[in-house]
């Protein structure tokens, strides 16, 4: 039975694997031997929804710049563990290890709590 299942898995066309509704989660711990991913690289994956550096303030998805470290960690752990229900964030959060969530928390806690679009990048601001 097991070999039958395996066989059918391997004969699935490539296309099917690309379009299937949902794949199994490989827990973040399986990647623990790899070098640590910096908080900035992790956190910059959030920008399409939460704005550059988490600094968008006029959309329904909330800003996360300047969020207190412990608040961010609790939120993300609750999303990850499905304690706090959400339509998207449960699936976003469950890929990260606790250590990664902590590094993201450090990154966002360090961002100025103001719209990035108001900053003059040329004149320095935070980049000085």
């Amino acid at each position: 039975m097991k070999s039958l299942l395996l066989a059918s898995l391997f004969t699935l066309p490539f296309l099917a694997t690309q379009t299937m509704a949902s794949g199994a989660l490989i827990p973040a711990e399986k990647f623990a031997a790899d070098p640590a991913i910096p908080g900035k690289i992790l956190g910059d994956n959030c920008s399409a929804c939460h704005g550059t550096q988490g600094r968008i303030y006029d959309e329904s998805m909330p800003p996360i710049a300047g969020i207190p470290r412990d608040v961010f960690i609790k939120l993300m752990m609750d999303f990850k563990n499905e304690v706090r229900p959400s339509i998207v964030m449960n699936h976003v959060a469950k890929v990260f290890s606790e250590a990664e969530i902590e590094r993201m928390a450090d990154y966002f806690a360090a961002q100025p709590d103001a719209p990035w679009s108001e900053e003059n990048v040329l004149k320095g601001g935070q980049y000085e």
């Binding site: 990647f31 992790l42 329904s60 998207v88």
Partner: protein, 432 residues
């Protein structure tokens, strides 16, 4: 040395550019030793690279080479077809990159790379020397994969509209002027192509418009695949609101296994010929073309004779030259799909790797997400959450999830709002 000097740039760009601080912070001219990062292509990948590079490095010179003065966002462009967006809303330009992010924008075609001399050959602006080059030219379309289809037809009466712009408007106008009860045939290509759910979103939005203005019209999706992203949602939505599966269905989908693959266009008779020889005459024909790497990637040898450009997924460095990085749809990044979301995330990893190298540091471990959205109607949204890691030089799909819930109108509505929110926020993330 053919390095584009500050003086040459002043000549090229004019005093107005300098007055607005075009090439450098007001307080500082670029030092003679400032490294020069050149970016070819001002789409989502290239523009993301320019902005995110400036955020992490104030001292590097950045030049973007892009032939168009404006860019029309593809994400959100199906909305032209149900009149919930206009091309104007989707159009951005390079002024913010110039003025706030001190990016020198050259409006020109990049034609070639001189790897030995480390410079890009432009069509009209001479050579541009680089220390690091980021290439983001997107895909090209293999129109002739459907026999009889070609560029002249695409720009004429058979728009593919797979790059937002005049063809999108043309397709909408064709739908508008179609007789009552007319037929639209959409040919959906094999993977890989940009934004996998988009052909079905397109059909859905056309159906939404037709339901109000031409309720007896039909949409026929002829597919080169046997399945598609968000299929469960689309089929459920079409069943509930468009009569899918009945004789009166507004939408019909023909899978490849049922002979859906389009082989030939008979333009004169407005007819598509499928793999099993069926001839389908339609009032509007929309062939979404097969994709391949952009011509620039092929002409410069970056694709090494392959369909797509092979990269090192740790940094998106090309396999051809260590100072050249390639991002976005043009890359061989499977099991990632081709989306703007991923292109922007490739770009962020590239610029971090480049700055790390300038600072004598090893590249950081990357992570790439594709947390994206699509719509089945103005009141029905869906979301996808994909995460990719790199292990032993290979891209590993850590997780892939598509929203599953059916029969929950409130949730579908919230997800539709989320999708629209995402489109606005993403445009601003890249271009504001």
């Amino acid at each position: 040395m053919n390095n584009l000097s500050r003086r040459q740039l002043i000549k090229q760009l004019g005093a107005a550019g300098i007055a607005t601080g075009l090439f450098g912070a007001s307080k500082q001219a670029w030092s003679k030793t400032a490294p020069h990062v050149v970016i070819v292509g001002g789409g989502i990948g290239g523009a993301s690279a320019a902005k995110y590079l400036r955020i992490i490095d104030k001292n590097v010179k950045i030049t973007l080479i892009e032939p168009n003065k404006e860019y029309i966002f593809c994400p959100g462009s199906n909305e032209i077809l149900n009149e919930t967006a206009t091309l104007e809303e989707l159009t951005v330009n390079y002024e913010t990159l110039k003025n706030r992010y001190a990016v020198n924008v050259i409006t020109d075609w990049a034609d070639d790379i001189d790897y030995t001399g480390k410079r890009v050959k432009t069509r009209n602006s001479g050579f541009v020397a680089y220390d690091k080059l980021i290439v983001s030219p997107g895909p090209d379309y293999k129109l002739d994969a459907v026999e009889g289809y070609n560029k002249a037809l695409a720009e004429g009466d058979f728009p593919h509209a797979w790059k937002a712009g005049a063809q999108t408007t043309k397709l909408f106008d064709q739908m508008k002027s179609m007789p009552q009860g007319g037929t639209i045939a959409i040919s959906s290509p094999p993977m890989p192509y940009r934004c996998p759910p988009a052909p079905y979103e397109r059909a859905s939005f056309m159906a939404e418009w037709l339901a109000h203005h031409n309720p007896t019209a039909k949409i026929l999706i002829l597919d080169s695949k046997d399945g598609f992203t968000f299929q469960k949602h689309y089929l459920d939505y079409w069943t509930k609101v468009r009569g899918y599966g009945t004789d009166n269905s507004m939408i019909e989908w023909v899978a490849a296994k049922d002979g859906g693959e389009v082989k030939q266009l008979d333009a004169l008779n407005k007819t598509l010929i499928t793999a099993n020889g069926d001839k389908i005459k339609a009032d509007v024909i929309n062939i979404i073309p097969n994709h391949t790497a952009a011509k620039f990637a092929k002409d410069t040898g970056l694709s090494q004779g392959q369909e797509w450009v092979s990269i090192d997924p740790m940094t998106y460095q090309s396999r051809v030259d260590k100072d050249v990085y390639v991002v976005g749809d043009v890359t061989e990044s499977s099991p990632m799909v081709k989306t703007g979301y991923l292109a922007s995330n490739h770009a962020k990893v590239v610029v971090q790797a480049i700055v790390d190298e300038f600072n004598g540091k090893a590249p950081s471990q990357p992570l790439y997400t594709n947390n994206c959205v699509a719509l089945a109607g103005d009141d029905y949204g869906m979301s996808i959450t994909d995460t990719f890691r790199v292990q032993n030089g290979k891209i590993v799909k850590q997780y892939g999830h598509q929203s599953t819930e059916l029969d929950n109108p409130a949730l579908h509505y919230v997800r539709a709002s989320l999708a629209k929110n995402w489109q606005r926020a993403f445009r601003r993330d890249i271009f504001a």
